[in-house]
Symmetry: C2
Subunit: 757 residues, 2 copies
C-alpha cells in the first residue's frame, strides 16, 4: 500500500476510540464485518469495476453499452464462482447489494434482484417441489430472476395488482434471517435497481417476471415465466406515461376488448399516453407488461396488466404498431436505457391480459377481483429500504469530504504559523460533522422502521391491519425527509470540498445524481409529506374525540391534553420532547386552519390545499421528532455493549445531532415551547463545544464506515489521503490527454486566426 | 408558430396586467427591449447554436471540440456582419453578453470579452493615436482582445497586480453609458467567461492580454500584445494550483533568478504546486502568464507574474520541462479545457517577468513597487456582475418550471372534476412564486449595487477611499447569498418538475451546474460571508465607540442605541425593520462572544474561529436585511411610472418576497423582535393569500422575462407549452434512437443468455 498522508495518519493515531470496534458495531458484530469484507474482496478481485477509460468520458451511447457489458461480465463471474465453491446463496446476496454493486456497475446492477429477491422468494414461498425445480436452475444461472415494484404513491386503491408481489417479501420477515443481515443485503444501490431506474436489464427481473407471477393465472405463469427465466424473451414493465407519474388512475393507454376477434386492442390515444421512463424499454426488452385502462362492452374498468410483444424475437426489430425508443440523457443514471412506448392499435390475444385477479370472459364480460388486504406492503417495503440506502450515500459523501478536509491545508489565520487543515475551521466542522451523525441517525431509524415493518406485516399475515396506516404514514414521511436530508448532505459535502468537489473524480457529483433522483421517484417528496399529514390530521381528530392513538403518534394525545408549555429543559431529552411539542403544535394549527376555512364556506379539499404548505411542514416536524427520539433511544440502547471510549463518542455524536437540529428549528421551538434566549445561547455554545469535541475523531468516525476505495471511487476521499496525486492520476485518464495536440487546433482555431475559416 | 397549449393560452388571456409593459420595465424602456430583441435575432438567425446531435450525447472530448468549433463560427459570423452593416459596437456587446451567448455556446463564449471589455477599454483609456491604431484592427477581427480577473478572495493585500486591470473598468463608469445598459451587456453567462471557467479561448483575452497590459512595461507590451492580438500566440493565465485556490499567498510555484545567465528558473517543487483549473491551458494555449513566488539573492519577494512558453509555436508540442494537460471531467462546463501545468526547472529570460511595478535588475536586485490604492476594484466588479448573472439563471429556471406547471395536470383531489394544473396546488406555488420575486429582488439589488460601485469608484478616482470597505463588504455577502439563493432556486424548480426535471432536455440540470459553480468560484461562499463579518464587527465596534457609520450599516448604530424592542409592526416596513434588528442582534452577540472568549484566554484568531458559525449567520442576516430593504425601496421607486394594473402585481410580488423571508426566519424574528404567535399566524395567512393572488399572473410574470426559446433551451419551458411534444422531439435526437437494435444485444446479452459469453 502506498504511503498514507501524514496528516491523515496523525488523525488516525490520535483517535480516542478503537475504529475497528465501531465498524463491528455498525455492521452488527465482528462476523458480519468479516463476511462483508470477504464478499467485497470476492466481487472486486476480478476487476470488472475497473474502467480503462472512466465512463464519465464516454458518450451517452457508449455509457449504455458499457453498462450492459459489465452487467453481463459480473454475472459470468458469479456463475463461475458458484461452480468453484459451493458457497451459500447468502454470499451472493450481499455481493450484489450495498455499495459494492455500485462500485462495479456505477449506475446500478441489473441482475442484483436475481439473488436478492427472486431466489429468496422461491425459497420462502415455493413448495418443496418448486424449490427443487427452480433453485437449482437459478443458481446455475440457467435462468435469471428478480423482483420489484413501482409506487403509485397515492394510497392503496390503485395497488391491487401488488398483492402477490407483496407476499413475496414475506420471506424476508421470516425468523431465519436477522434484520440487520437483510438490511445489509438490501441496502445501498439496490434501491435504484428496485425502483426501475437502474440498468437496462433490471426491469426484466424486477418488474416483468414478478408481475406475471403476481397477477398471471397458473396457465399464464406456466407459459410466460419459463420463457422469461430462460431469457428466451426479455421483458420490462411500463406503467408511467409522459403525462402521468404518481397518479396511476390518470393513465391514458387503453386496452379495448374486441369480442369479435377475442383480442385486446392496445392504443395510445394521445402523445401523453406514451409510456415514459421504464428501464430497459428502449433497446433491451422485446416484451413488456403494459398497464392500461381496460375497456370492455363500452365500459372502463380501470388499470389492468397486459403482456405485449414489442420486438420480433429473432431480429429485435419493433413489431407493427409499436413505437419504441429511449427518452434521452438525464442528470444521472445514464446506463439505464429508459424508454418510451406508444401503441397504434396493437392487437394481442385475450389471454395476454393477466387474469389471476380480474378477468375478461370471451364474450367481454368483466369479472371483478376481490380487493386485497395487503395493498400497502410493497411500497412501504421499498421506502423502508430507501431510508437505509440514503445512509450509504451520506456515508460515502461524508467520508470523502472529511478525509479531504484533513488533508487540505489552506490560509493562514495566524502569522508565522503553518496553514491549518481546513477541518480545523469551525465552519467546516459545522458543514461536515452533522453528516457523520446523520448516517447513524438514519441507520438506526431505518433499523427501527424495518423491525416495525416486520411486526406489522406479521400482524397482517394474522389478519390484523390495525397498525398498517401508522406504518404507511411513517414510511412516507421518512422517505421524504431521508432523501431530502441526504441530498442536502451530499451537496454540502461537495461544496465543502471547494472547486475540487466539482470534479467528477471526487465522485460527489455522481453521488448527488443518484440521491436527488430519490427525491422525486418512489413518491414525490411533497406528495409523501402530505400523505403523512392526512394521517396526522386523522390522528389529531381521534385524540380530540378521546380515542387512544398508535405508539408513534401517541404524543399528540398526551400533548393535546396538557396545552400549557412545561418549563423548558435544556437537555437532549428536553429537546426531543420539544420536537414532539412542535409537531403537535403544528398539526393542531393545521386542523384549526382547515376547520376555520371550512366554516368560511370552503370545501374540505380546498381548505386542505390552502393549508397544504403548513401541512407539509407539520408532517416534516413529526418526522423530525421521530428521527430525534429514535436515534436517541436506539443509541442509548445499542451503545450499552461498547467500550467506554467508544460510548463517549457515540453520545457526543447523538448530542451533536440533536443540538444541531434544535438550532436549525429555533423558530419552531420558540413558538411551541418555553425555550428562552438564554437557553438558545447555551445551546449554541454547547453545539460549538461539541464540534470541537468530535473534530479530533472525525477521520476515525468516517474510517469506521469502512468503505473500500473501490466502492468510494473518489480521488479526494481515498483511505491513503493522496488526494492530489489521485486527482492527477484521474486527470491522466482523460482521452483528451492521450494526444498532445487536439485536431480542433488545426481545424478551426488556426484557420480563424488566419482569416481562412 | 405551432399552436400554443390551451392551458397556457388561457393563463395569458387572463393575465391581469400588460405583459409587454412589464418586459419594457425590466429592460429599462421600450427601446432597450427592441434593441435586445434585434440583437438576439441577429445572433441566432444563422443557427450556430443548433446542434444536430445535442452536446449532452457527446463524449467529453467531442464536447470540447464542438465548443471550439462554435466559438470560431460565431466570430466568423460577427466579422461578416461587421463588414455588411456598419453597425455600432454596442450591438455586438449585447449579442455576446447575457443569456444569448449561452444559447449559442451553451457553456460560455470565449470571445465575448473582445467586444465587452477589450475594445471598450481602448476606447475609454487609449489615446487618440492608440484608438486609431487598435480599434480598427479589433473590429475587423484582425486581432482579438479581452479582459478579466480571478479573485484571491482574502483581501486586498495580494491584489497589487490588479491595479491596471481595475483601471480598465473605469470605462464602464463613464457618464456616456447608462447603468442598465452595462448591466445587460455584462449579465448572463458572461460571468462564467470572466471567471475563467468558460470556453477554451476565454483566458487568452480575459487574462493573458490584460495582465500583460496591466503589469508589463511599455517594452513588454509592445512586444507581447501585438503577437497576442495577432493570435500569433495563444495565452492563458495560471494562478490557482492543486494545493491552493483562494489563498494566493500560499502558492508554491517558484521563479528563481539566476544572475549568471540572467534567467528565471520556473519550478514546481511539489505536486501541489502544479497549476490546476485555468481554462484553455490544457490543449489551447501555447503561452501562459504564470503567477509564482519570486526568489532572488536567496530571498522570497512574493507572488509575481511571468510569461512562459508552453508549447512550440509551429508544432504545438509541449516545450522541454513543461508538463501540461487537462484536469478531467467536471459537474458542468465541460467545454472549457481546464488544464494543469507543472515546471521542471524551466528557464525563461529575465525580461519575461512582467516588470511594470516590481523589478528584478540584471544583478538580481529586487526593486519593490509602490502599493496600489485601487486593489479592491476588480474583484468587487466581478462580484457585482455575478449578482446580476444569478437573476438571469433564476429567471430561466422559474420560466421553465412555471410554464410546465401550467401545462401539467395531475391527480384528482375532487371526485368527478378534471385533474388540476399542478400550479394550482399551493405547495407548488410555494416552490415557484418566490422564485419570480427573487429575480426582481436580485435584479434591483444588483442595479443598486452597480450604482454604488460606480459612485465609490468615482470617489476613488478623486482619491476618496472612505466607502471602499463598505462596498467590499457588500459585494462579498451579496455574492455569497445570491449564488446560494440562485442554486437553491434552480434546484427547487427542477424538483418541482418531478421526474421530467431530471431529463437534461429540461435544461434545469445544466443550469444548476452553471449556478452551483458560482458558489465556490470567485471567492468560496463561507469565506465571503466571513469577510463581510469582519467588516460588520468593526462597524459594531465603531458604533460602540460613538462613531458614525456608513449608510448600509448605519442601522447598527441606531439599533444599538435603543436596545429595547419596539412593538412589532406586522407590515412590510415592519418586517424590513425587523430584519435589521435581527442582523444587529446577531452581530452584537458575535462581538460579545469573541470578547468573552478572549477574556477567557483565547487568542483573537481562535475566538474568531470558535464564533465563525455565528459570524457567517450574522453576515447572512445583514445581507437579507439589505436585500429586503433594497427590493422594497427600489420597487416603490421604480413602479411609480407603471400602470395601476402592473403596479398592483409588482407590489404583490414584493410583499410575497418579504413575507416569505419573514416566515423563513421566524426564529430570528422571535429572538430579536417582539413578534408574537398571533403575528406569525397572520403572516402565514397573508402569505397564503399572496400565493393565491399572484398565481393567476404567474405565466404572465415569467413571459415578461422574455427569454427566447433558443435561449431557454428547455423542452419543458418553451413558450408554446408543447412540453410533451418537445420531450419526445428531444428524445428522438439521441444517437441510441438512430438504430433500432444496439450492438450490445448481439455482443453481450445474447451470449450471456446462451451461456456462450
Amino acid at each position: 500500500m502506498a504511503k498514507v498522508n501524514v496528516d491523515l495518519q496523525r488523525e488516525r493515531d490520535s483517535c480516542s476510540f478503537n475504529i475497528t470496534e465501531l465498524t463491528h458495531w455498525i455492521d452488527g458484530g465482528i462476523e458480519k464485518t468479516e463476511e462483508r469484507r470477504k464478499r467485497e474482496e470476492m466481487a472486486l478481485k476480478e476487476g470488472i469495476h475497473i474502467e480503462p477509460v472512466p465512463s464519465v468520458y464516454l458518450s451517452h451511447k457508449e455509457k449504455y453499452e458499457l453498462a450492459v457489458k459489465k452487467a453481463c461480465l459480473l454475472f459470468k463471474m458469479i456463475r463461475k464462482l458458484q461452480e468453484e465453491e459451493n458457497a451459500g446463496m447468502e454470499n451472493y446476496l450481499a455481493v450484489l447489494g450495498g455499495n459494492l454493486g455500485a462500485a462495479i456497475l456505477g449506475d446500478g446492477n441489473p441482475l442484483t434482484l436475481h439473488y436478492v429477491m427472486f431466489i429468496p422468494t422461491i425459497m420462502g414461498q415455493g413448495t418443496v417441489e418448486q424449490q427443487a425445480y427452480w433453485i437449482g436452475r437459478a443458481f446455475n444461472l440457467d435462468i435469471i430472476g428478480t423482483y420489484a415494484q413501482t409506487d403509485p404513491a397515492d394510497g392503496p386503491s390503485e395497488d391491487k395488482w401488488k398483492t402477490i408481489a407483496y407476499n413475496q417479501e414475506q420471506h424476508f420477515t421470516g425468523p431465519a434471517r436477522s434484520t440487520s443481515c437483510n438490511m445489509a443485503v438490501l441496502g445501498g444501490n439496490l434501491g435504484a435497481a428496485i425502483l426501475g431506474d437502474g440498468n437496462p436489464l433490471t426491469l426484466h427481473y424486477v418488474m416483468f417476471i414478478p408481475t406475471i407471477m403476481g397477477q398471471g393465472t397458473v396457465e399464464q405463469q406456466a407459459y410466460w415465466i419459463g420463457r422469461a427465466f430462460n431469457l428466451d424473451i426479455i421483458g420490462t414493465y411500463a406503467q408511467t406515461e409522459l403525462g402521468h407519474g404518481t397518479f396511476v388512475r390518470g393513465l391514458e393507454t387503453t386496452a379495448t376488448y374486441d369480442a369479435s376477434t377475442k383480442e385486446f386492442v392496445l392504443h395510445s390515444p394521445t402523445l401523453t399516453a406514451y409510456k415514459w421512463w421504464p428501464g430497459g424499454l428502449a433497446h433491451t426488452a422485446n416484451y413488456c407488461i403494459v398497464m392500461a385502462q381496460l375497456y370492455t362492452k363500452g365500459k372502463c374498468h380501470g388499470i389492468h396488466a397486459f403482456i405485449v410483444q414489442l420486438r420480433e424475437e429473432e431480429t429485435h426489430m419493433p413489431v407493427r404498431g409499436i413505437k419504441v425508443g429511449e427518452i434521452g440523457a438525464k442528470l444521472g443514471m445514464n446506463g439505464t436505457n429508459n424508454g418510451f412506448l406508444g401503441f397504434d392499435q396493437v392487437r394481442i390475444p385475450r389471454d395476454h391480459m393477466l387474469m389471476k385477479n380480474s378477468k375478461v370472459l370471451e364474450d367481454g364480460t368483466y369479472v371483478n377481483a376481490p380487493s386485497s388486504k395487503l395493498a400497502y406492503g410493497t411500497m412501504m417495503f421499498v421506502r423502508v429500504m430507501l431510508v437505509n440506502d440514503m445512509c450509504k450515500y451520506m456515508a460515502k459523501a461524508v467520508t470523502i469530504a472529511v478525509r479531504y478536509s484533513a488533508v487540505r491545508r489552506q490560509s493562514q489565520p495566524k502569522p508565522n504559523e503553518p496553514e491549518p487543515q481546513i477541518i480545523d475551521y469551525l465552519t467546516q466542522q459545522h458543514k461536515l460533522l452533522v453528516g457523520i451523525a446523520s448516517v447513524h441517525a438514519f441507520r438506526m431509524s431505518a433499523e427501527w422502521l424495518w423491525l416495525m415493518y416486520n411486526n406489522v406485516t406479521a400482524e397482517l399475515e394474522a389478519g390484523d391491519m390495525e397498525r398498517l396506516p401508522e406504518l404507511h404514514a411513517l414510511s412516507c414521511c421518512l422517505k421524504a425527509v431521508s432523501t431530502d436530508d441526504a441530498a442536502k448532505c451530499v451537496e454540502r459535502c461537495r461544496l465543502a470540498c471547494g472547486g475540487h468537489g466539482y470534479m467528477l473524480s471526487s465522485n460527489l457529483p455522481l453521488t448527488y445524481g443518484l440521491v436527488t433522483a430519490a427525491c422525486t421517484y418512489e413518491g414525490e417528496n411533497t406528495v409523501m409529506l402530505l400523505q403523512t399529514a392526512r394521517y396526522l390530521v386523522k390522528a389529531w381528530q381521534q385524540a380530540a374525540a378521546g380515542n387512544s392513538l398508535p405508539p408513534t403518534v401517541s404524543y399528540l394525545g398526551e400533548l393535546r391534553a396538557g396545552r400549557r408549555s412545561p418549563p423548558w429543559d435544556n437537555t437532549i431529552e428536553g429537546i426531543v420532547k420539544g420536537f414532539h411539542m412542535v409537531a403537535s403544535g403544528k398539526i393542531g394549527i393545521c386542523v384549526a386552519q382547515i376547520e376555520k376555512r371550512q366554516n368560511n364556506g370552503m370545501s374540505y379539499e380546498d381548505a386542505w390545499n390552502m393549508t397544504s404548505v403548513q401541512l407539509a411542514s407539520a408532517s416534516e416536524a413529526h418526522c423530525r421528532a421521530i428521527l430525534l427520539s429514535t436515534y436517541y433511544k436506539e443509541n442509548e440502547k445499542q451503545m450499552k455493549t461498547v467500550s467506554p471510549e467508544l460510548r463517549q463518542v457515540l453520545m457526543q455524536l447523538c448530542d451533536l445531532y440533536v443540538v444541531y437540529w434544535a438550532l436549525q428549528r429555533i423558530g419552531d421551538l420558540l413558538r411551541f415551547t418555553s425555550i428562552s434566549e438564554r437557553d438558545i445561547e447555551q445551546l449554541q455554545n454547547w453545539y460549538e463545544d461539541l464540534l470541537i469535541k468530535v473534530r479530533p475523531n472525525a477521520v476515525g468516525l468516517v474510517d469506521a464506515f469502512d468503505i473500500r476505495d473501490e466502492i468510494l471511487n473518489s480521488a479526494l476521499g481515498a483511505y491513503d489521503g493522496r488526494a492530489y496525486e489521485r486527482l492527477m492520476e484521474e486527470a491522466m485518464k482523460s482521452p483528451l490527454n492521450a494526444e498532445p495536440v487536439n485536431q480542433s487546433f488545426h481545424k478551426y482555431l488556426k484557420p480563424l486566426m488566419q482569416g481562412k475559416l
